[in-house]
């Protein structure tokens, strides 16, 4: 009940801020359209698009969550909630549900436009692709929540985006296939969760098989999201210095 109340509260906050919702839902689609015409080639677009369908929700959820939680910490609404009978899990799951719904909308719009207009083939189906991208968005959300604990100001929180997100984007296989990277970089990309989300998304666009590797990759993304959520929960302290 309190989880749903929290999710509803966050969605109501978003409803009062239509510009943010429009940016969250339409920006990835706009960027994909732009990219399609920058490449001016369907095969090149189809190679990059699956990775970007993972990277956009991941990045946007990271930023939105780290700023939102930082704001809760600073305006002392979090302190007030911590004096009330609400579990930290209620708060975290409330965030996950609210931002998860936004992520679904974001991914469905971006993937539909890519598929219907920009010529991206999704052999594994829109449903599976959306599922992976939403898991990826939840990963971004959980990491954003964790990162916000280390930011004292909104300036710092925004700077954490390049710090946490850009290395994963560079190493996820978008620019250079992971197996062609220098050994050390390949090892690093092996321990970064975004790599597995991008592998899974690429697989779903190229094949309709649900094989062991795909399931393993999905499991890794989900497990990393859960670990980041637990770490995020640890940073939401009831008592502070």
């Amino acid at each position: 009940m309190k989880t749903l109340a929290t999710a509803q509260r966050i969605l109501t906050q978003l409803r009062h801020d239509r510009r943010t919702v429009a940016l969250m839902v339409l920006m990835p689609t706009f960027l994909l359209v732009l990219l399609r015409f920058v490449f001016n080639s369907e095969p090149m677009f189809s190679r990059a698009a699956p990775a970007l369908l993972g990277i956009f929700p991941f990045t946007i959820m990271f930023i939105v969550t780290s700023i939102t939680t930082l704001r809760e910490r600073q305006t002392t609404t979090l302190e007030r909630l911590m004096t009330m009978p609400i579990a930290r899990l209620d708060l975290l799951l409330g965030y996950a549900i609210a931002f998860g719904l936004v992520a679904i909308l974001q991914v469905v719009v971006a993937a539909s436009v890519s598929w219907l207009w920009l010529g991206l083939e999704i052999k594994g189906g829109l449903g599976l692709l959306t599922l992976i991208a939403v898991l990826d968005a939840l990963l971004g959300m959980a990491m954003g929540l964790f990162a916000s604990a280390f930011a004292r100001t909104e300036f710092q929180a925004v700077q954490f985006m390049p710090a946490f997100v850009m290395p994963q984007v560079l190493l996820c296989g978008l620019f250079v296939p992971r197996d062609q990277m220098a050994t050390v970089l390949n090892w690093i990309s092996d321990v970064l969760p975004l790599s597995y989300a991008v592998d899974a998304l690429t697989h779903v666009t190229r094949s309709s098989d649900v094989d062991g590797t795909l399931l393993r990759n999905l499991f890794i993304v989900l497990a990393c999201a859960v670990v980041a959520l637990v770490l995020g929960a640890v940073t939401l302290r009831r008592k502070t210095p």
Binding site: A5, R9, T75, T77, T83, M84, R238
Partner: protein, 225 residues
Amino acid sequence: MSNFAILVDGLRVVRGGNEVVRGLTFSVPPGFVTGLIGPSGCGKTTLLRSIVGVQIIAAGSVSVTGSVGYSTQNPAVYADLTVRENLRYFAAVLEAPSSDVDRVLSDVDLVPQGDQLVGSLSGGQLARASLAVALLGSPQVLVLDEPTVELDPVLRRDLWQMFHSLAEEGRTVLVSSHVMDEAARCDRLLFMREGLLLADDTPAALRARTGSDDLEQAFLRLAVA
């Protein structure tokens, strides 16, 4: 029924290497309006945070009898929700009846602003919106950090009347203030300075003890004693 609403025993709090609360022991009796009076920076907020259980403490213990409503010094409400939406959310968290929303709105005189976004309220209205949240669920103990600063005198009088009527119902109200003229409106006073209590008594007893009719003078005499 116990004979205290709040019991603080040997409380010490260290923040940023400084001891901000330096070994306090006192109790707050139920059914009174108790004022925590002291200059800005004397440790009032840290003490109140310890009482509501969000402050990491270095030593000692705090116990509170019954449910607590807490209002922070900075208005702890969501700027991008309306007053009513804020109250509905906090009521759900507290499992308070939904009828509480309208009750507390009229208690703090914000009915006309109920559907206004909190971000567009004036400073005084914002403080009252935050205070309204503390009244949800009719808590036994109200801990209010500077709830009446910046308010219009008429409204301030009304809020103090409300604090006293809550106390008459048997509830405990602990209000902090750095404004000395609010001290006279309390049933009991805790004078605080530099992390220590100077006094814990009724206004009348403090006037008698210090031989001063003015509570500000009483505070001064206790501070330099």
